[in-house]
Point group: C2
Chain length 413, copies 2
């Protein structure tokens, strides 16, 4: 992909209204732009990272045995009234009346809708378990949106739901999801903590949160400085580690995932029953499993950056390499750069070609800012010595070599 | 993928409230379910077709030189007031006030939002042209939703926008898009007509519609029965073909795409100007290009079905093949079926495995209903003769042969 065709509006200055490093870098690297407070457009580079994260999630959901579907954003308020959550959730849910007088809300989550769907299709124990997920846009009327897409009014979530005959089945699917979540966040390049948590508004008993330690995190995790055990902020208000008898430290963290053993709260209130092998009608036993997909972008950036910009982990990087011809008016430089571009495309390496007529300094700064793992630099000196330079964004390691050698190195790396 | 893991709730009976063949088949084949009138969930099989259509669109948009981004559904009403379209569009746009008192609407289209975005990032002729597109969920408060997802309140669109220095640039991008659209609809397996059309609410001069002839189509296309020339319904109210002097026939059609040379309507009203090489400030010259992505499902089904069910064209089919072991309690049948399943997966053939404990008749009927191009049938007779049967859904052609021969045929087909 050519830079000039790709709409990457980088910014030299740090935007003043962006409080967190990730918000600043997402704006400066041209990943997002604000439409109104709490509502953002994802520009091509940001969308590519989102798509990479979604692909990881899809692969791991498949391993966990979940099938993908797509539920609507428009939901009838009645369903929320049936579970009583219309009151619990309060003003955070957008509500309005349509032309026909129907009371509609914009889905902040989909427990009601999926339960209603499965209830109408599943009637026998032979059809269970059912495990479904979607990656979809959700809405929250946030009174105070913050930190760019970390707390936004419109955001992308992965939400999965399991329907089982009994607690035993639920526990099995819960464990499969917990394992899948660990793999997902590992592949996203994150350091994260898994915390036993409170179920809150969702209901149910057992629940785990996936927390990414970060200065701007709005959640608190307690950690014993000695044995490193972690606890959620609200867990029994302990002040000391029961084992080591030392005071817990507090760690700020961003919640990127939350999974719940819901039990029968939704299936009972919405009548999602099945006929068991013993001839009795029983409510389905449910679990739900959420990931804040769009929130993963800033969470990754909070952990993966330096003073020059973003350092994308390999699996989520928008491109594997960026090619920097340092003078686009020099035919030799451009011809060698295009050779490398074609060679890498042939090997199915995702590569960005900085074809802008800009000074070398601008290109270097922007390449570091947008954080693509590998930079291939072609300048006058390289042409003279018949070499090409490969720079690793993360380590700043530089390798100079013949064109073929650098291409080989890059495919290997 | 195993059928029992994939949530494909097929229906034997034709749903009474579904008026069109495509709506009936989408319900019966387990592609969609209604949540409320005009609002649908896409089940796994329906989502797979949607994803295939989206991939075709992404590939052809790339050829046309467009970059993908993602714009928000929540839009400030002010932007619509600035172009005057808040009045033009009337009640079809969902509107509400959020907690902070902001007047919000749910985007039925994105000319205003994209113009505002590009205006803030582009200032010089050197940055033009810019061609961007998204595949995104849109909303319309339809007073009378019809035919399932053909006219729905929540639907998926591909909308592209071009920004050029002048009319010449616009015409070039318009032609690139027109060509891309033809390739997209061809790859979707559609017979379609390209009609010079009225620009209506969008503004601008030149515009073309892409029409799929279908009995339930709500648009009318005029066609000369002799020379086959086509015209839109509103084109000057002609009643005879001017060349052949015979009365036009009327063809019902579904509009699946519409492209517009917008000119400067939006850039003038929203102030999207650039500095030209002559030092003068000029408004950008815009085009916009829409495809009704979710509407393509029923449009394809209207053209591609028989009395037994859907016949998916190859490129959009949810799976390439479905394997039907006719008795899942028979070890020989299951073992041979699984061999074939593994062999095809190894060749990266997308394949569905009907592992349901159902009678052969049910499996045959469901396989025809869901319309996967190739069926591989393994029964007792095959085990006896050491053969496998391949059935082509469209032609009903049957080929009986050794397992290896059938796999070879299938990969080739």
């Amino acid at each position: 992909m050519y830079w000039t065709k790709n709409f990457i509006p980088t910014l030299k200055e740090t935007p003043q209204d962006a409080e967190s490093v990730s918000h600043q870098l997402m704006l400066r690297a041209g990943l997002i732009r604000m439409l109104i407070s709490g509502v953002y457009s994802y520009l091509p580079l940001g969308l590519k990272v989102l798509n990479n994260i979604e692909l990881i999630i899809q692969q791991e959901m498949c391993v966990a045995g979940a099938s993908q579907l797509l539920l609507p954003a428009l939901q009838p308020l009645e369903l929320w009234q049936a579970t009583g959550r219309d009151k619990d959730i309060g003003e955070v849910m957008f509500r309005f009346t349509d032309r026909k007088g129907r009371k509609i809300c914009l889905g902040p989550t989909h427990e009601e809708v999926i339960t209603e769907l499965v209830k109408n299709q599943v009637s026998s124990y032979r059809q269970l378990p059912v495990v479904l997920y979607q990656i979809q846009t959700k809405f929250r009327d946030e009174i105070r949106p913050r930190f760019g897409v970390i707390r936004a009014c419109e955001f992308i979530m992965k939400d999965a739901y399991s329907f089982d005959k009994d607690e035993e089945g639920l526990k099995k699917n819960y464990q499969l999801m917990l394992d899948a979540y660990k793999r997902i966040f590992q592949r996203c390049g994150l350091d994260f903590l898994v915390i036993a948590a409170d179920s809150g508004l969702m209901g149910g008993s057992v629940s785990h949160e996936f927390m990414v330690p970060a200065l701007v995190g709005e959640d608190l995790v307690m950690e014993c400085p000695k044995c490193k055990v972690n606890k959620g902020q609200n867990s029994e208000h302990e002040e000391d580690c029961p084992k080591c008898k030392v005071v817990f430290s507090r760690i700020n963290a961003i919640e990127v995932g939350h999974i719940f053993q819901l039990g029968t709260k939704y299936s009972v209130s919405l009548g999602a029953k099945y006929l068991d092998s013993d001839g009795k009608e029983k409510p389905m036993v449910m679990g739900c499993y959420g990931i804040g997909v769009s929130r993963l972008l800033p969470a990754i950036i909070e952990q993966c950056h330096d003073s020059d910009g973003i350092i994308w982990p390999d699996e989520v990087a928008p491109y594997r390499a960026v090619i920097l011809p340092l003078d686009v008016t020099n035919n030799e430089i451009m011809s060698r750069s295009l050779d490398i571009y074609q060679a890498l495309k042939k090997e199915n390496v995702e590569v960005l070609f900085d074809d802008r007529d800009e000074r070398a300094g601008v290109k270097f700064k922007d390449a570091d800012l947008i954080g693509i793992p590998l930079q291939i630099i072609i300048g006058k000196e390289g042409i003279k010595n018949n070499t090409v330079e490969l720079k690793v964004r993360k380590t700043k390691e530089r390798i100079v070599g013949a064109k073929e050698e650098i291409i080989r190195q890059l495919i290997k790396k």
